[in-house]
């Protein structure tokens, strides 16, 4: 795993995500700033109010992708710790779908690295979501997966 910290999470999980746990994993005595992104299922979509959101993942490939994204982040910024987790399965409105936490000496890198990581998660990982609205299912329109 090279420079990847052993205790950090980089997984796709079917269980509830605890943002506090992910945040705790990036604690570091040499970090002055930590930025955490938490994605949650939003009530409103383009076509109405959502009852639930079903996340589907190609988990093995997505977990490889999380490790690749961490390596990209470490290539670009001198961050201390990175931890990332994405849900699969059926989520209710308000539930946590993804958490990215990055700690670094200074805050600028933590903000940039965290934002980069979630952008890459959304565009380069094999993850899909399907809105449940009034008993109907609709795959949320995305973009062709990028390398």
């Amino acid at each position: 795993m090279g420079r990847l910290a052993r205790s950090a999470t980089r997984e796709v999980t079917g269980r509830d995500i605890d943002p506090t746990k992910i945040m705790a994993e990036v604690a570091d005595r040499d970090a002055g700033g930590t930025v955490v992104f938490i994605g949650t299922v939003r009530r409103t979509s383009e076509v109405g109010n959502v009852d639930a959101m079903e996340y589907q993942a190609y988990a093995k490939m997505a977990e490889k992708g999380l490790r690749r994204i961490e390596a990209e982040v470490r290539e670009k910024w001198p961050v201390r710790q990175v931890s990332m987790v994405h849900r699969e399965g059926l989520l209710k409105v308000g539930e946590v779908s993804v958490v990215v936490a990055v700690s670094s000496e200074h805050r600028a890198e933590a903000f940039e690295a965290c934002r980069y990581a979630i952008d890459r998660i959304k565009t380069t990982l094999p993850l899909w979501k399907r809105e449940k609205i009034k008993g109907k299912n609709r795959w949320v329109e995305g973009s062709p997966i990028k390398k």
Binding site: G39, Y55, Q56, A57, Y58, K60, M61, A62, K64, H86, S97, V98, I118, I121, K122, T123, T124, L125, P126, L127, W128, K129, R130, W139, V140, E141, G142, S143, P144, I145, K146, K147
Partner: protein
């Protein structure tokens, strides 16, 4: 000869009606040729032709990438995680 395991996701899974299957290569050797065969075999995949991407062993590949016996191929509609 040889065969590959194909995994379908999201709208592609709905269109094909299965999550996974083992497919014989029958001499096909590139991802592009393999996708063409899937589109021929599964007409309901054809509307996704422009936006579907393939992975080979969990890496997104171009049409010219090789496919070989034992590979795991993912059929990936546009992604929308997060």
């Amino acid at each position: 000869m040889g065969s590959v395991t194909v995994l379908y996701f999201a709208g592609a899974r709905d269109a094909v009606g299965k999550k996974r299957e083992v497919v014989r290569l029958d001499g096909l050797s590139t991802a592009g040729d393999f996708l063409d065969r899937l589109l021929r075999d599964y007409p309901r995949l054809r509307p996704m032709k422009a936006t579907i991407r393939l992975s080979v062993n969990q890496e997104v590949v171009d049409a010219s990438a090789p496919v070989a016996d034992g590979d795991e191929i993912g059929v990936l509609p546009p992604v929308a995680g997060g």
